[in-house]
């Protein structure tokens, strides 16, 4: 199950690496147990199997070195590098003219990033873990946003950077594409899993918000108002699923389920605020300025 998700994500990554570096003639990822996780379209499986076998033979004799981290074979016309990355091994075959530093920087940043993203985006499917904690879910949100925001900064700096820094820009562009494709792949894999195995939707993200009063004259006393950006995130996560209610958790352990609507007052937009009617505040034993956790009720 986990390999399927990794394979989808890493296949796209390898494709992008080959697009950026045409001098990379062959690239593939395999596991400790020799199983191929992802590969480019041009490398035959038989070649990969033989390479892995040859590599494992070296590895079995490398206990003296304190375990094997990487092997680089240099020929007159090309180079093969097999390096340990996270729990995988990445094999890269390049021509002699290839900028080794560029390829190494690209692969040693991208592959771990993608693996980390997969680990964080799909904890439920990959590890069958218990429901994740709020902090971990916040990390997921950050990790989805980070790679997509960084290239914007680089694009802004593009005019000022010198030619020698072009590989870094290219690398950022690849990261952006890979991150987008990764998210798509993971969503696809997730949809397939739901269809095939009837698995549950992603764990509802828990967001920490600050309580603001909605006033005693509020017409709907059972409805809270939530920052629109939080609602948008839920829509992105659950697509067409209709979310009608939220669950509020106060730090004292009081939990309440109620309806919600977007914050209307522009001064509260994007501030991580929840407007709660006094009646609900009393029931939760919370008040203005205190923190509560909010998560969508997805059924």
């Amino acid at each position: 199950m986990s390999n399927q998700v990794y394979a989808l994500a890493l296949d796209n990554t390898l494709r992008e690496i080959k697009n950026v570096c045409p001098d990379v003639t062959s690239i593939f990822v395999f596991e400790e147990n020799s199983k191929t996780i992802a590969k480019d379209d041009d490398t035959p499986q038989e070649t990969i199997n033989k390479t892995v076998e040859a590599f494992q033979a070296i590895k079995s004799k490398a206990e003296t070195s304190g375990g094997l981290e990487a092997v680089t074979i240099q020929g007159s016309e090309g180079r093969v590098n097999i390096a340990s990355i996270n729990n995988f091994y990445l094999a890269t075959v390049t021509s002699r003219e290839t900028d080794e530093k560029f390829v190494n920087s690209l692969t040693r940043i991208l592959i771990p990033t993608v693996v980390k993203l997969v680990d964080q985006i799909q904890p439920a499917i990959i590890r069958n873990d218990e429901p994740t904690m709020a902090a971990e879910l916040e990390l997921v949100e950050e990790s989805i946003q980070e790679p997509m925001q960084e290239p914007v900064e680089y694009a802004y700096q593009e005019e000022t950077v010198e030619d020698s820094e072009q590989p870094e820009e290219e690398m950022q562009a690849v990261e952006e594409t890979v991150a987008e494709e990764l998210i798509e792949s993971v969503h696809e894999a997730q949809d397939e899993n739901v269809e095939e195995n009837g698995l549950v939707l992603p764990e509802p993200p828990v967001t920490q918000v600050i309580v603001e009063s909605l006033g005693r004259l509020q017409f709907k006393s059972d409805t809270v108002r939530i920052d629109n950006s939080i609602i948008e995130q839920w829509k992105d996560l659950y697509g067409d699923r209709i979310i009608e209610e939220v669950e509020l958790d106060a730090l004292n352990g009081k939990t309440i389920r109620c309806k919600f609507s977007p914050v209307k007052d522009s001064k509260y937009q994007g501030k991580g605020v929840i407007q709660i009617p006094d009646k609900i505040q009393v029931a939760m034993e919370t008040s203005r300025g205190k923190l509560v956790m909010v998560k969508p009720v997805v059924e």
Partner: protein, 137 residues
């Protein structure tokens, strides 16, 4: 006529050279191996270089700071050369030049120089390219 004489002389020379070639080559090889061994021994004086194994067609010269690891090192380098040549052929890398094996604590550089198999063991942070260049010079 003069041409013919020259031709004969050349032929005679060539035959002579062919007969003596193996002896000359063997002597040259031995000299190269000795020079290489001397060069590698000097390199071993550097604290970050852990030792070397130099193999030619008939003999092996070994200089290790941890002699108890000789079997492990010999097996590793032998396997590395074999696997590297196999991988080189599979991916059409051309003539084999070198293999670098990076472990958690150390790295090993294997290459062929004038039919001598050279294996140098060093600490992980050593610039192996620098070592390779200095040996090849």
């Amino acid at each position: 006529m003069a041409k013919k004489k020259k031709s004969m002389s050349e032929t005679v020379d060539t035959v002579f050279a062919e007969e003596s070639a193996p002896i000359v080559e063997a002597l040259e090889e031995k000299q190269v191996s000795q020079d290489l061994a001397t060069c590698l021994s000097k390199m071993c004086e550097r604290p970050e270089v852990l030792g070397f194994i130099l193999r030619d067609a008939t003999t092996a010269t070994i200089n290790l700071k941890e002699p108890e690891k000789i079997v492990d090192y010999a097996l590793l380098t032998s396997q590395a050369m074999e696997s590297s040549q196999e991988i080189s052929q599979m991916f059409n890398l051309g003539d084999f030049e070198s293999t670098l094996i990076e472990g958690k604590n150390m790295k090993t550089l294997c290459f062929v120089l004038d039919e001598n198999r050279v294996n140098i063991f060093m600490e992980k942070d050593v610039d192996h390219a620098d070592i390779l260049n200095s040996v090849r010079q």
